[in-house]
Symmetry: C2
DNA sequence: GGCAATAGTGTTAACGTTCACATGGCTCCC
DNA sequence: GGGAGCCATGTGAACGTTAACACTATTGCC
């Protein structure tokens, strides 16, 4: 049993054992065609005997390909981003890439710059950024960060391809559903105003109401948290107590919807008897809330996969052609929290 | 303005511009002390003029340090793992390491082997594995994967250090809280039986009841999902209808607790009036459920940080001394879903 | 004033791969 | 029978960095 004296075995060790040149070992390792079958076998044997595995660093140095992609993540405490990240990881691995992640808790230009610098230092070949905030997208576009870059939920016109769910269509579907049930208008509790998704949902909601010629109320500004949902749910109950017609509310995410349900319940309002509630995201708990929440599902895994496809496309064709975007449809899941308005 | 003709600038380009040797550039880049201040300035200027940044691959090749740590993640759809991952990432970055993640959707030996191989190929310097399942821990221990390795929530005796929350203490606190309220015994809805955390919570629950001399009922086996919580919640209601004394239930995670609340509500049982419910995890929604859920909070970020500290320790002192573990306390958060039993 | 230590810099050789090219030996075909 | 072409293999030079050592001034000290 040959050994390499404590040292990790390298190609020339294998070569010596197999009685060939290091180059032939390289050919075997990389599946090059023109190697005699018997030689391949001898090299393979030497490899397993020594426990050799190729040094990716040396390979990367000479090929100028690190095989590493970067991912910028924000707020992975939220359901969406963490799911998307999982989708990206899976797709990256399938494509034979490694994925290095860095999170920017802080969407300020400085925070993003630091995070991106971390990726550049690592010589990533490309990067996908989960960039739900307007400020972050701008910081990203201005920065000399890693390229190519694709964004998730980044909004158009940023100068790089974007993959995301059709937020506006999802919002319109939610509103249409409520109008179809007979509600005269739909209130809205919105997400953090600096998030593009929040904005798109507000826009979809408003446009669908406008198209139907309904009253458009002022959206109640939340911050995605259950707490803010709870507070705005109370506000909604107050409005109703003051005589405003509040029979349906479209809440910008499920976490806030949880808070809304609690607030309405505490105010003695039945859901969906008095008020219908529709959320967004379809978190795993949604179907098991009381009442089961009608919501708009986003296929985050598909978004992650789509983002990676865009990135791989950009890597294959480094031409500076117009960035094509990829949009995944949102789908409404009707459950028990929406019903016709009280008679 | 000097350029390098399309090529990425390398050290010798900087050296030429600054009128020094490449070695001096290296010294400046690495903050070596013995360089004249004026030279440093000249080199720095050349660096920014050329937009040079050091090639991490070449550096890694010669120093034999990749500066990359690996993380094996399972089921990042769950709240705990995704939070922990975020904690690990943050700690890794602060320590100057890159983090490469790989997820094993499949805890079988093959799936783990493949995931680990991916990390080995990348020459990670160490690895932290989020290994909540018994099978996974064993696969990990048997595998010739990356070393050093630390596990999160892996249970002891696996042969590598483990960081985790004190599940058993958390479970005992939950049970004690319910007993203190006056309940004669506490039922338990458990997590997936192949998860070590599930087992530890069952154990803590059982021991606390035993220590108090109370009846220990058969745990109802769930799978962490809201759906299973719902189904077992119905089962619980049935048991009660059949005359069994069911006044308190300790549910192994909050997601299942959501389902339990729904099932009890549908069965016409009040929480906490008829039945008290205590969860585990303290997901963001917990405080805004109806009623606000009493639960046991886990500080996942701290667990991630602790795991990374263990890993860094192992990297510094590669001696094969006994692996020390790190345990983070769980803390009970009393809210509205627990109260004294009905009179 | 001389000798050792030290600050500042340069030269050369690794690190472990892949790439480009060279070298034989063989087959094929006119 | 002799060159064109292919197969199987080897040789040497990259890739861009850091480590080791060598070298020259300068300083400190008796």
């Amino acid at each position: 049993m040959p050994t390499t004296g404590g040292r990790n075995p390298v190609m020339s060790d294998v070569a010596k054992v197999a009685g060939v040149s290091h180059q032939t070992v390289s050919r075997v390792v990389n599946g090059h065609p023109n190697v005699r079958e018997e030689t391949v076998a001898r090299v393979r044997h030497a490899i397993s005997e020594l426990g050799y595995h190729p040094n990716s660093t040396a390979r990367a140095l000479v090929t100028r390909r690190t095989n590493v992609l970067g991912a910028l993540a924000v707020d992975t405490t939220l359901f969406g981003p963490s799911q998307t990240l999982a989708g990206i990881e899976q797709a990256a691995r399938e494509a034979g890439y490694f994925l290095s992640i860095v999170s920017a808790d802080d969407p300020s230009p400085d925070g993003v710059a630091e995070a991106m610098d971390h990726l550049v230092q690592q010589s990533v070949e490309g990067c996908v950024a989960i960039a739900p905030q307007r400020e972050l997208v701008h910081a990203l576009a201005a920065l000399p960060g890693p390229r190519p870059l694709v964004a998730v939920e980044g909004g158009e016109g940023a100068g790089f391809p974007v993959a995301g769910v059709d937020q506006e269509q999802g919002a319109r579907d939610a509103v249409r559903h409520l109008l179809d049930l007979g509600h005269r208008t739909v209130h809205h509790i919105s997400g953090r105003s600096d998030w593009l998704e929040a904005e798109a949902r507000v826009h979809g909601w408003r446009e669908e109401l406008r198209a139907a010629g309904r009253t458009v109320t002022e959206p109640l500004p939340g911050d995605w948290s259950p707490r803010s949902g709870y507070e705005l749910g109370r506000r909604l109950a107050e409005l109703r107590a003051e005589g405003e017609e509040v029979t349906a509310v479209f809440v910008a995410n499920d976490q806030m919807a949880v808070g809304v349900l609690k607030a309405l319940h505490e105010a003695g309002l039945g859901v969906p008897g008095d008020v219908s509630v529709v959320g967004f995201d379809d978190i795993p708990e949604a179907a098991y809330l009381t009442p089961a929440l009608t919501t708009v599902a986003q296929d985050f895994t598909r978004v992650g996969t789509a983002a990676l496809e865009l990135l791989l496309g950009a890597l294959d064709a480094p031409s500076a052609d117009a960035p094509a975007d990829r949009t995944v449809p949102a789908v409404l899941r009707v459950r028990d929290s929406s019903a016709p308005p009280p008679a």
